[in-house]
């Protein structure tokens, strides 16, 4: 091991990625450059924009606020985990239905924040959705279609649960 490097092992979307990294390596760079999952984006350097939002052990986190070493041994979900077997997640379906994205750069972060929101609150009000994505900046859509999409997805997920 090179001097000063730290061995880090992170489970991302069910797959384990292990590497020797500098202690100052940001988690977002681990995800993008070492795990080579490019769906997680970088939009600022002040943890303001939310483009890099992921889930760590189910909690939403801006992956630029954390060092990779802090995520050692933990489980991470990124946008790439949402669709399974080519079937879109209900949030992805709803974002598509409502044209809740234009350039798509904020979308992965928006989806992860929304996933977290729905995991805590299965039937959020419009106000709660706005609160839930308050840390994610979108410069294209004006948010309205995103809010509609999250509301719609929540309804569909709940309807699905009832019929089960």
């Amino acid at each position: 091991m090179m001097e000063g490097l730290v061995k880090v092992s992170i489970d991302i979307n069910g797959k384990k990625y292990t590497d020797d990294v500098e202690p100052r390596l940001l988690l977002v760079d681990f995800i993008r450059d070492i795990a080579r999952l490019k769906g997680t984006h970088i939009g600022c350097d002040t943890t303001s924009c939310g483009a890099c939002t992921i889930l760590i052990d189910g909690m939403s986190v801006k992956s630029c606020t954390m060092f990779a070493v802090e995520a050692d041994g933990r489980k991470i979900q990124t946008v790439e985990s949402l669709a399974t077997d080519d079937k879109l997640h209900p949030l992805q379906e709803a974002f598509w239905e409502h044209h809740a994205l234009q350039c798509g750069y904020c979308t992965p972060g928006m989806l992860m924040s929304s996933t977290f929101l729905l995991s805590r609150n299965s039937d959020p009000t419009e106000e709660e959705i706005r609160e839930g994505i308050a840390g994610n900046i979108c410069r294209c859509t004006g948010y309205i279609n995103i809010i509609k999409a999250v509301k719609d997805a929540a309804g569909k997920i709940n309807a699905g649960k009832e019929t089960e």
């Binding site: 500098e22 100052r24 390596l25 993008r32 999952l37 490019k38 769906g39 997680t40 984006h41 970088i42 939009g43 600022c44 350097d45 002040t46 303001s48 924009c49 483009a51 990124t78 946008v79 790439e80 949402l82 669709a83 879109l88 992805q92 974002f95 598509w96 239905e97 044209h99 994205l101 234009q102 350039c103 798509g104 750069y105 904020c106 979308t107 992965p108 989806l111 959705i129 706005r130 609160e131 994505i133 308050a134 840390g135 994610n136 900046i137 979108c138 410069r139 294209c140 859509t141 004006g142 948010y143 309205i144 279609n145 995103i146 809010i147």
Partner: protein
């Protein structure tokens, strides 16, 4: 290219009912890519062995560079190279200037030479083995500065004795021009009232969520630099870069990745980054990558034009405005990199949305110690529209009239359409009164005026504001000749290519570059319409590559041109290709072309019901070519270049020209409540009624209008690039430079009324920039709310802080 000598294309049918694929809110297929994290944006492009670049930035607003010591920087392990302005100056020419001398003598390089002129200006470029080391190393470049006096205000910059930014120019004037249209002086003389005021627009930025970036690599085997960038007008920027680097454009391959994370005008003057990274990649014979960090993007990634207007309006007793006389001074920032184009682009909307034929404008633009300006969504028209909307309220105040009445009285009438403005802009149809009345209904204008009366009795501050704006689209480059008659461009054009591959799939390409405007789906709908076949049979590949894509020198996505320009080019190309397909099918089926029609990925006979799939026709055209009609050129490729006729194509001696092809319009109405203690502003209602012309995909068009509304709200209430007296930018990151989030965006009541454009082939108007509609309605609403306190507002940006101190100064 197989094409017929003459092409007669009728304008598309008048009603949407005639269309099957165009005019419907088709879900956007390309949305599925970023939704699953599968998009490829610039920073996702990887080339093995890539080195990373970071800039050393100026900590001063204005300072002489006395010495640059790179020794400490070069000692850091992993550092490959440090580039300074001195080296660049020896190896490149300064960028071409649009303005003629003396301001055309200005020397602009991508790294500061001899002195820095704005806070955050790149001074050195450091190349290292990874991005972390590059950032560290950039801070180790030791620059010795001698601070110089700073000027940040454009009017101050034009005063005698002001600090001068560019010694080669001699003063700070970039360009001055006078428009003397109709007879404004006479109008003022004969007016019942002269309404006079000063209006200011503030500085903000485009800030797309993805910043600018460049990846360049030099390929020795073909002596070509390949550049991946996010430039919005790649083929227009190319000669600017190649001219400076003294190399032919054909030795420079421009690529845009399939996804670009928004632009809003802010990805045009990033040609400076492209120049530096391209230079370094050739010098070091290695791929070099640079991605702006957010601060760099805010400091120098395109600011909009700050402008101050001193206006006099000639007004009749009844509220009719008969003339306008104004002096406007524009703040260009440190370097004119697309400027002074902004000094003529406002003239797309000389009378705003109003019927005013006597307009006098004395326009100047000055360099100052602030970041460079350039196109930002609504480029240069936002300012002019805002001025009109503030002045219309002043007229209402002067005459004690309802601001809605004043506007309605002055709006251009439907029967005047198409309307020729005083500078020969041709407003291409529309019913402004209908839109205006629809807006008043939408926001329940009358009801809110009643509520306002009640609220005031209870000490509540509620205000209602209106704003009616023109949002011009698809520019005519000839307007730049007003600034410099030798500027080598006029008109506009775009290219469409439609082909059918060996298996019968329709393939479409054009030179516009998508940054989130859903081009693939929209353009697919056009090709689908012509071939009467579902979008699943049409492939439109996103991204751009100058060696494999079709392009015109004007290619790109800017100035709200894509649907109008590329849409038309593709429509023509598809029609040409369909003619050939029908000819081949007629020959193969032994029928008359006039009995055949294209339908569902095939050609069918209306007479015999015989059917020939496009796949079979493709086999004939590409492979079994001896079966083609005699003398027919094999292949199924069609190409069309669309060059619109602007009617008044070139500016005359009075600077009159039709600046753009289409003029969409939007009416905004805002109801706000201002907290009487904290002066926080809350939007209670916001309505928009716009007329985008025929909508190829209403889902997409409405999305663009909504985005433009967000930008306006954010600009009026939040975004502000604030400099101190030393030229230090105080809002250089997302902590201080606040952009609207989900909690700031009110519900928007949005409606469209559709009248076809009388100038564009498909009846569409360029949309998406929005003309800054919400800025005017918000500022007017807040001033209306504060009317009991007698507070007058000046600027296009409002903060509770500022209102509080205004209220407490009294």
């Amino acid at each position: 290219m197989p094409q017929k000598a003459e092409l007669v294309v009728e304008k598309a049918p008048e009603t949407t009912a005639a269309f099957k694929y165009m005019g419907t809110p088709v879900k956007v297929a390309e949305d599925l890519i970023p939704l699953q994290g599968k998009g490829q944006y610039l920073d996702d492009v990887e080339i093995p062995g890539t080195l990373y670049m970071a800039y050393t930035l100026s900590p001063y607003g204005h300072a002489k560079i006395k010495k640059i010591d790179t020794s400490k920087c070069l000692e850091l392990p992993g550092v490959h190279y440090v580039l300074t302005g001195e080296e660049l100056k020896a190896n490149m020419d300064p960028y071409m200037q649009i303005a003629p001398p003396p301001s055309g003598n200005l020397k602009d390089y991508p790294l500061a030479v001899d002195k820095v002129r704005y806070y955050g200006e790149p001074v050195a470029a450091v190349v290292a083995s990874n991005a972390y080391i590059a950032e560290d190393a950039a801070e180790l470049v030791d620059v010795e500065y001698e601070p110089l006096p700073v000027v940040t205000d454009a009017e101050d910059a034009l005063k005698e004795g002001s600090p001068v930014l560019h010694d080669s120019v001699g003063n700070n004037l970039v360009w001055r021009g006078v428009w003397d249209l109709g007879d404004a002086e006479k109008a003022l003389k004969e007016a019942d009232y002269v309404v006079e005021d000063t209006v200011k627009t503030h500085r903000y930025a485009a800030v797309p969520l993805e910043t600018s970036g460049v990846l360049a690599t030099y390929d020795q085997s073909v002596d070509t630099i390949t550049v991946y960038s996010v430039n919005q007008m790649p083929m227009f920027s190319l000669p600017i870069i190649c001219g400076a680097l003294r190399m032919p454009p054909s030795k420079f391959r421009m690529i845009l990745p399939p996804n670009v994370g928004g632009a809003f005008g802010g990805k045009i003057i990033n040609f400076t980054h492209i120049t530096v990274v391209a230079y370094l990649s050739k010098l070091l014979k290695a791929p070099v990558k640079y991605v702006e960090n957010r601060s760099e993007n805010i400091m120098s990634g395109t600011h909009n034009n700050e402008r101050i207007f001193h206006v006099k309006l000639a007004v009749r007793k009844d509220g009719r405005v008969t003339g306008a006389y104004m002096k406007a001074v524009d703040n260009c920032g440190a370097y004119p990199r697309y400027e002074p184009a902004g000094a003529v682009i406002w003239a797309q909307v000389v009378p705003g949305i109003y019927d005013v034929q006597n307009v006098y404008v004395d326009f100047s633009q000055a360099t100052t110690n602030k970041g460079p300006t350039g196109p930002v969504r609504g480029y240069s028209r936002i300012q002019h529209n805002f001025m009109w909307e503030r002045m219309m309220n002043r007229v209402a105040q002067k005459l004690n009239m309802d601001p809605a009445e004043v506007r309605r009285l002055n709006l251009i009438k439907a029967e005047q359409m198409p309307y020729e403005g005083p500078s020969r802009t041709i407003y291409d149809g529309g019913d402004y009164h209908k839109a205006f009345d629809t807006l008043l209904d939408t926001i329940e204008y009358g009801k809110w005026r009643e509520k306002q009366k009640e609220a005031r009795k209870q000490g509540k501050l509620i205000g209602i504001g209106l704003s009616a704006v023109i949002d011009s689209g698809a520019n005519n480059f000839a307007q730049v000749k007003i600034i410099n008659p030798h500027f080598p461009a006029s008109g506009s054009m775009e290219v469409g290519l439609v082909m059918i591959d060996q298996f019968g799939t329709l393939v479409a390409r054009t030179g516009t570059t998508d940054q989130g405007q859903s081009h693939a789906t929209t353009f697919g709908q056009i090709v689908s319409e012509v071939f009467n076949t579902g979008p699943e049979n049409v492939v439109f590949q996103q991204g751009f590559d100058s060696i494999s894509n079709v392009w015109a020198a004007f290619s790109g996505a800017y100035a709200s041109r894509s649907a109008v320009m590329a849409g038309t080019a593709l429509y023509y190309a598809a029609i040409r290709l369909k003619e050939k397909v029908l000819t081949i099918a007629a020959h193969a089926l032994g029928e008359l072309e006039s009995d055949l029609e294209a339908k569902d990925a095939a050609v069918v006979s209306m007479k015999t019901d015989k059917k020939l799939p496009l796949g079979d026709i493709a086999t004939l055209a590409w492979l079994d070519v001896n079966k083609l009609p005699e003398d027919m050129e094999p292949g199924l490729v069609s190409y069309a270049v669309y060059k619109p006729d602007f009617t008044y194509n070139m500016p005359d001696e009075k600077k009159r020209v039709n600046n753009t092809l289409t003029y969409s319009y939007a009416i905004h109405g805002t109801v706000v409540e201002v907290d009487p203690e904290t002066y926080e502003m809350k939007i209670l209602k916001h309505g928009v009624v716009s007329d985008p012309g025929f909508m190829i995909n209403p889902l997409v068009v409405e999305g663009q209008e909504m985005g433009a509304t967000l930008h306006g709200i954010s600009a009026a209430l939040m975004e502000n690039l604030e400099y101190d007296e030393d030229g230090i930018l105080l809002t250089s990151n997302f902590w201080d430079y606040l952009v609207a989030g989900a909690k700031h965006m009110p519900d928007i009541d949005m409606k469209t009324i559709v009248t076809r454009s009388t100038s564009s082939v498909l009846g569409v108007r360029g949309v998406g920039e929005g003309g800054g509609g919400p800025i005017g309605s918000i500022v007017n609403a807040v001033e209306d709310a504060l009317q009991p306190l007698g507070i007058k507002l000046l600027s296009s940006n409002l903060s509770a802080n500022e209102l509080y101190s205004k209220a407490n100064k009294k």
